[in-house]
Symmetry: C6
Subunit: 76 residues, 6 copies
Amino acid sequence: MTSGQLQTLRTSTPEEGYALAVKLAQKAIKITQPSEEIRKMLRPVYSTNADSLIATAQVVAIHFQTVAFANNYWND
Amino acid sequence: MTSGQLQTLRTSTPEEGYALAVKLAQKAIKITQPSEEIRKMLRPVYSTNADSLIATAQVVAIHFQTVAFANNYWND
Amino acid sequence: MTSGQLQTLRTSTPEEGYALAVKLAQKAIKITQPSEEIRKMLRPVYSTNADSLIATAQVVAIHFQTVAFANNYWND
Amino acid sequence: MTSGQLQTLRTSTPEEGYALAVKLAQKAIKITQPSEEIRKMLRPVYSTNADSLIATAQVVAIHFQTVAFANNYWND
Amino acid sequence: MTSGQLQTLRTSTPEEGYALAVKLAQKAIKITQPSEEIRKMLRPVYSTNADSLIATAQVVAIHFQTVAFANNYWND
Amino acid sequence: MTSGQLQTLRTSTPEEGYALAVKLAQKAIKITQPSEEIRKMLRPVYSTNADSLIATAQVVAIHFQTVAFANNYWND
C-alpha cells in the first residue's frame, strides 16, 4: 500500500492486519482532506486529545473487524 | 454511480470498493441536505476539523465493511 | 412504506435498499419525537450542521448494512 | 415484553422487529437510570435535540441489525 | 460473573443475555477506571445526562449483538 | 502480546478474549500517539470523565465482537 492503492485485504498475521486497519482509517481522512499540510496541522490537535484518540481507535476497530473476517481471523 | 444511482455493490478491487464506501457515505449527506450550495459551505468546516474527519472516517468504515462483504473480501 | 409500516427488507436494487435504510433511520426519530411540528423545527438545525449530517450518515450506514445483507447484497 | 422481560427476538414482521429494537434500546437506559421520574425529566431534553435523536436512532439501528438477523430478515 | 470473571457467553434467555451485555459494557469501564470510588462519583453525572445514557445504550447494543449471536439468537 | 506484537486472536476463555479486546483498543491509541509521556498525561483526563469512559467501552465492545467471533464464541 505504499502508493496508497489498496490491493488486497489479506495479511499474514493479525499484527499486519491491524496495521492495514490503521491505514484504512487514515485513507478516508486523506480522501476527505487531501491537503497534507492541513492534515499535519491537525495532527497535534487530535493526537493530544483523549476523546479524539478514542474516536480514532473506534474507526480502526471497525476496519480491523473487516480485515480479520477477510483473513478468516488468521485461523487457517 | 455517475448519476448517483447505485447499481451494484460489486467492485473489481478493494481500492474501488473503498471509493464506493466513500460515495455511500456522501449519499446520505446529499439526501439529508440536498442543497449543493449549503454542502459546499459546510465542507471547509468539517474538512479542517479533526473530530469531524474522524467521524467521517467512521461512516466510511461501516460502509466499507458492507462493500467488502458483498465482494467476498475480493478473495475469489 | 407509505403508511410507515415496514413490510419487508427486500428491495430490487441497491439504490432502493439505500432509500429504505434512510427510512429506517428516520423511523426511530419519528418514534422518539412523534410531533411532526418539532421535527420540522429541528430539520434546519441538523441539516446545516456538518457533524449532525455525518452522524445521520452513520445511522444510515448501519441500516444499509442490514438491508444489504437481507438482500444478499443484490448478488443473486 | 409488557413486564420488561425479554422472551424472544422472534417477531412476525419487520415492523414488529423494529418496535422490539426500540424497546431493546430503551431497556439499557432503564437499567442505567432506574428512576422513572428522572427519565421523564430527561425526555423533553433529548426528544427536542437533533443530535440526541440521531444518537438514539443509532442505538436502534444496531439493535435492529440484531433482531433482523435473528429473524433471518423475515425472508422465510 | 459474580467475581467479574467471564466464563461463557451462553445464557438461557434473551433477558439473561441482555444482562450479560450490560455487564460486558461495565467491565471495560472497571478496567479503565479501577477505582470504585471514582466510578461512584461519576455515576450521578452520566445517569442523569440523556446523551451519556444514550451512549451507554449503544455500548450495550454492540455487546448484545455479540451475545445474541453466541446464543444463536436463542432460536434453538 | 507483551511486546505489542499481535500473534493470534485465539484465547482460551471469554475473560482472556475480553482482555485481548482491551489491548486491541489501546493499540490504536499507542500507534496514533506514540509518546508514552503524553498518553500518561491524558490518562487522568479520560479515566475520570464518564463520556470518555463510555466511548472507551464502545471501542472495546467492537473489538470483543471480533475476538468472540474469531473464537467461535468459545462454544467449541
